[in-house]
């Protein structure tokens, strides 16, 4: 089986689905000839032409707003927002229209749109290029939010997202576009939206993360394994709807839980997970749920950003704090 990076897996998913379904189109800034600034759509314009791979005007509200109209008329637009911090001009279209059209029309109009963009810090980028803002979208009824951490899931979730009958926010961990490789089958497969994955089973501590935090969690796993402490690592993969049963099942077994999140702490997804555990599994807990997160600060510029990002030391300390 061929080894692929997340970037290659995403590219292959887009290629396969465009070949299978003529209503799928790619739209965004520089997604055509240039293949997108991260080259995720590389080569697609050559194969499918400029009516299906559209270099749009530089206008995010325009991209998502017109994609809503396209989708309501039966097209399947996959929209690239160039960076996490540039989605906001389209926020009105996403929250006020894409997410609401099905409900507003009681099912007559739907918006099967994928809105994909690179997210997360740690790549020494400019301001507005290192955001983890998933909470906004998770907090919006009518959207699904996914965030893969591996090439296999990136492809399977992308194929599932394009086929999904509702709008999907697709966060791609830009730091790991090209430095993780794994076996990714050539053929068509989907990863179900709404299902977390127990990446490594363990019995002592449940450690939950998603996207760019997963490689970090995997790095600290051996540190504890050496001491005979087995972490159960859960990759959420889908952030909305949350796969609460998988989380609760794990916590009922381990009695301890750490959630690792790059986004600012207050009202991040970690807070919701913690509340779900309190409401539904507190009797199983042997220690308080612990969060390891970014601080409630604006992502600092590149010389200072590492102080904000959760790292091995902070994750280890977070886990150790609930082991006593």
């Amino acid at each position: 089986m061929p080894q692929r990076t997340i970037a290659e897996a995403l590219n292959q998913a887009l290629f396969l689905e465009m070949e299978r379904d003529p209503s799928v189109m790619i739209m965004g800034e520089d997604v055509g000839i240039d293949g997108g600034v991260f080259r995720i759509t590389d080569g697609l314009i050559k194969k499918f032409g400029e009516e299906r791979v559209v270099d749009t005007p530089l206008a995010e509200a325009g991209i998502i707003g017109s994609a809503i109209g396209l989708a309501m008329a039966g097209m399947r637009p996959v929209c690239e927002m160039q960076f996490d911090g540039f989605v906001y001009p389209a926020f009105d279209q996403i929250v006020n229209h894409a997410a609401r059209m099905r409900n507003r029309s009681r099912g007559k109009y739907t918006c099967p749109i994928v809105i994909r963009f690179p997210y997360c810090g740690g790549v020494r980028a400019l301001e507005h290029h290192s955001e983890s803002a998933e909470t906004y979208y998770i907090h919006t009824p009518g959207l699904r939010v996914v965030c893969p951490s591996t090439p296999y899931d990136a492809k399977g979730l992308m194929l599932a997202a394009i086929r999904d009958p509702d709008p999907v926010i697709f966060q791609e961990p830009k730091k790991y576009y090209r430095n993780i490789k794994e076996e990714v089958p050539d053929e068509d497969y989907t990863v179900e939206i709404g299902k977390a994955r127990v990446m490594i089973p363990g019995e002592h501590v449940t450690v939950i993360g998603w996207g760019a935090m997963i490689p970090l969690i995997l790095k600290v796993h051996p540190h504890f394994a050496q001491k005979g402490i087995n972490l159960e690592v859960i990759d959420l993969r889908t952030l909305s709807p949350l796969d609460t049963p998988t989380i609760l099942e794990s916590v009922q077994k381990t009695g301890r839980c750490v959630i690792v999140q790059e986004a600012p702490r207050t009202l991040g997804l970690a807070a919701e997970i913690s509340a779900q555990i309190m409401e539904n599994a507190v009797q199983f807990l042997q220690a308080p749920v612990q969060r390891v997160t970014g601080f409630d600060i604006i992502p600092p510029l590149l010389k200072l950003e590492e102080w904000n990002l959760p790292d091995e030391k902070r994750v280890i300390a977070g886990i150790e704090s609930i082991l006593e």
Partner: protein, 353 residues
């Protein structure tokens, strides 16, 4: 000699067929409507005016929520709809009772929506639900018009909005996108003079709103929106162009005779004199004068139209008020299939019903 020229003089003339006194000023744009058709148009105009006015009473008596009256804008919307086909899609803002009704939205659904039930936005007609965030929906019309070109379908789209929307960024994006993607779309800008309390001259320093289309390379025209014949002539030509992948921007000059909504009092920000002056250009009065001169309009005919309208309105209001609401509906239409967390919350509510 200065490098930067004076701002060019903008042509602010508008197409007009009927003068406010009902006389024909442009024979060449008169529609070829026979007497029966003219009667029907007048009858529909009366129904729309009365259906709109009914809301004031419904809201005052607690039977409807807040409602934005469209009194005065009948000719603009009617002319636009007469100029397109039933297969075309319309994208209303929120002051488009006439456009929606004429495009096939049952009156009963219009009442149901403003009474506060989303089922009021579910019907067969190719009319999108009301869109309240100002200026955001013309982009959807651009997208659907784009899809029609890609799918080689013979349909077009029309978005309705007003002067306030032309200050919104999303509208400029729509103006810019439409010709780039050759969308089959018509922008129907109803310049009704007021965005709540803000007059058009505080909205923009531009001499016309049509000129805003120029920067996007979009064909545009200014028309007397209180003149149903002029509006119909312009709408037909715009629709024809849109069907050939050439989007068009129409600025229809009209006036919001009523308050912004049932919660607004226009007396706070504009004079009685201005409103009275605007009433002399009332589109219904203009058509009536023309029809009277043709010996088509009589007080008896007007009465007949009003009675027919009131009967239809009563029936629609009654049907809307008899529609029962179901708590499951507030959960069931967020996704094609309800998510597990939502299913749980739906059960949670049931315990309290």
């Amino acid at each position: 000699m200065p490098l930067i020229p004076e701002f060019p003089k903008i042509d602010d003339s508008m197409i007009q067929v009927l003068a406010p006194d009902g006389t024909v000023v442009r024979e060449d744009f008169l529609p070829n409507w026979d007497e029966a058709r003219l009667r029907e148009v007048y009858k529909e105009m009366i129904l729309i005016r009365r259906a709109d006015k009914k809301f004031t009473n419904l809201q005052r008596t607690g039977r409807s929520g807040t409602y934005p009256s469209m009194e005065g804008q009948e000719a603009t919307q009617m002319g636009m709809i007469y100029g397109i086909k039933r297969d075309d899609w319309i994208f209303p803002a929120f002051r488009e009772l006439a456009a929606c009704y004429l495009h096939g939205v049952p009156l009963e659904k219009i009442y149901l929506y403003w009474m506060g039930d989303e089922w009021g936005s579910n019907y067969e007609a190719n009319a999108l639900p009301v869109s309240i965030p100002v200026g955001s929906h013309p982009l959807h019309a651009v997208g659907t018009g784009w899809a029609f070109r890609l799918q080689n379908k013979p349909h077009i789209t029309v978005s309705f909005f007003s002067d306030g929307a032309t200050s919104e960024g999303a509208l400029y994006e729509a103006i810019n996108f439409a010709p780039v993607v050759q969308s089959r779309t018509v922008f129907c800008c109803q310049n009704n003079g007021w965005a709540i309390s803000t007059p058009t001259n505080k909205q923009t320093a531009a001499a016309t709103l049509a000129q805003k289309a120029v920067a996007g390379g979009l064909r545009n025209i200014r028309v007397d929106g209180n003149d149903i014949f002029a509006m119909y002539a312009v709408a037909r030509e715009a629709a024809e162009l849109a069907r050939q992948n050439i989007p068009v921007f129409i600025e229809a000059m009209t006036y919001r005779l009523g308050n912004h909504t049932t919660s607004d009092d226009s007396g706070k920000y504009r004079s009685k004199e201005e409103e009275e002056d605007a009433r002399t250009r009332d589109p219904i009065l203009r058509l009536q004068k023309y029809l009277a001169a043709q010996k088509i309009w009589t007080p008896e005919f007007a009465k007949e139209c009003e009675e027919a309208a009131d009967a239809a309105i009563s029936k629609a209001v009654e049907a809307a008020e008899n529609t029962k609401q179901n708590p499951d509906d507030i959960f069931d239409y967020h996704y094609e299939k309800i998510t597990p967390p939502l299913a749980q919350q739906k059960e949670e509510l049931k315990k309290f019903l």
